[in-house]
Amino acid sequence: MSELEKQEGDRGIVRSPESKAMQAQDAQAARVAGASEVKAAQDSNPNRHNGGAGGDQNQSIEIVSLKESGGFDLIASRLKGQGPQNELPATESKAKTEPLTVDFLKEKARQGDIWAKSFMPEIEGAERIPAGPTRDLLVDHVLKKAEVVFRPEDRRKAEPALENQNDTGTIIAARAEQNKAVEAVKAHHDWASKLEPGPEKDKHKQLAREQLVQLEPQAKGDLERLDQKRKWMAEQENAGTHDIRELRKRHLEGHVEHWENPWQAFTKLTPDQQRDIIRAFEKAGKVGQEGYEQKIQQVAESVPRAFYNVGKAVYDSGIAAATFVIESAQRPEKVPEAARNLAGALSESIANGARISQFVAGQAQEMAKTGDYSPVAEGLKTIAETANDRWEAMPLEKRTEKASELIAEMGLGSIIGAADRLAKSGKLIDALEDIAKHLKDLTAPGRDKAKQAIGAFLDDVFQPKGVTTNGFEMPIPKQQRDLDDLVMLRNKGLPDHVKPSERVTVKESFTAQREVKVTIDVPKEVLKAAEIRGIAPEVFQEKLQKIAESVKQVAYEVGNYDPKNHGSERVYGTKFHEALREALNQRNDPLIHTEVSYAKQTVQNWGKLGTSRVDIAIGEKEKPIAIICLKTLKALPSAQQERGWFNNIPRFPDGSVIPRLYLKVQERQ
């Protein structure tokens, strides 16, 4: 060692007497300490600046030189020395700028951070996969989610960049900035991007990718991740799911993911969120019952899927409740029927785990606060109060008897004290909901039996009562049903002698010109119907022929049912209906009418509440020969449609019901 070096070395020792200590193990640990550990150390300092005297902790250490003229010059301070970085302690600032890593999350989880813990199952799952692009993608996915929690600012800044990684051109452009040789590849890719879509374009774009990998082998990973991401997104699309960022926008969805029972999830929503769901059903209901059937599909798309059934059940119960309330005030003779419907809707909801009482309580506050009236919520609130009043009005002895019967019929006899609690409860619906919690222990048939028992119990509560001359309370005898009601009880509301198995045979064949010809063989009974209306059977047959041709035309327009293109079968059906309506309307045939609404055997305005809307009416609109009900794929007429046909469609002069045809559109098997 030279003399100079020796002197330098000596000076070095003199200048840095702490250097030995800085190499100690604990000093190394301090250097790499995380933000939380630094914070913990700062908090343990008994002399730390507590802010009580005002000012900033970073200003608590300053070196000043007093001036002769008074005052001082600031020679050094934490703030001055650290410049713009002094807004945060150095370690925290570093933590904010460092990219989020798996190790960071694991450390956080180890320290007990609940958010970090929530990401651990996904991290562990990803780490079980062999190293490769799939694993990287999964880890990347978790880290992006974690960024939302731990680096919200960085997340916002990074968002455009993340979006850009969905593009090969951006990957090439980024590499070109670092490596001039890649600029030629970039130019090639840019040129290829402008080509018309086709094999030529694909070939050149693929060539550009290969050239990039040759020049920049590290880019291979980026491209593979991109491919994997695209594949993954395509799979998500096919599975009917959506990008996670899309889901985040729909904040309601988040709750459903973490609750087993949609009803539980529903009760955890805020009252205004619950209102939004019910409002969607209320809007659909305004167009009338038949319209509701079709509009309901739109509701299914406007509310989170998991809440659809819950929302519909609440809505149905609410409508039954509102109907009961209205009938009680206006048409007492209809109250028994309304009570039956209400009991049925409520028992369905309660047996499925509904918390109607919680919903009512939440909505009552919301309506009082906002003044936003909901007929569904108001109806349920009124019937809950009615149920409580009627239950409390019964002597305890009678309540105990009825409660015991209910518990026995529900098959829940082993639940100690259930009947007693129900009998003593002043809140009947709440008590029933509590009992219904035990239904999960039953088998499916057992639950059905329990549901029926609840229905019968509630029917008894809601049915109007009268007092006999000798003081006994008796149910008012139920109104004698008319013939139509009686026959509707069987076979989905149809009399036994209706023969839905009868067919109008439709056959396809070629004419001499090799055109496809549709031959329709209509039963004589139907042709007689035309004669009754004064229309020649041949004319009626020709109308059917036109309808069949229009169906074919629509089939070509709409195409085969494909879930990827059409969504659900119901959506396909709606599209088919609309296209057929347009096709038939274009024919402008005075004896073919589409979408006609009838009530009490007269034509009504389209979509009016309580009307039955038929897809096609043949003949004069006011005196149709027959009505046609279009059914696509596996769709079947609902009991409601059956009743509508029976009650609302104009009949023949002798009172008999006009024929109805299901137009069943069958795809080739």
Partner: protein, 97 residues
């Protein structure tokens, strides 16, 4: 109709299986959507879609303008050569049967 017997019937229409074009026949001829075709009786038309029936086989859904849209046995259509623009019909051998 006086015996109060409601008549409910099922009218089942089998719709064709819609086939994406182009289609190639056994004789090698290729037809595509939007191809101009000629029918001996209905004249010139344009193919809108293709369909297939279990009993009838492949048909073309053709727009014959004023005559409307018709489903025609594809072997009965002549393809009009659009490139030459001369409306030259090309012979198509009808399938057996």
């Amino acid at each position: 109709m006086t015996d109060q017997t409601p008549i409910e019937l099922e009218m089942q229409i089998t719709i064709p299986d819609v086939v994406d074009g182009p289609v190639q026949l056994e004789n090698g001829r290729v037809f595509s959507v939007n191809d101009s075709v000629r029918h001996p009786d209905f004249g010139l038309g344009r193919i809108l879609r293709f369909g297939e029936y279990e009993q009838l086989g492949l048909v073309a859904y053709v727009d014959f303008d004023s005559l409307g849209k018709k489903e025609i046995d594809i072997y009965f259509l002549e393809k009009v050569d659009e490139i030459e623009g001369a409306r030259v019909p090309q012979k198509v051998v009808p399938a057996e049967g």
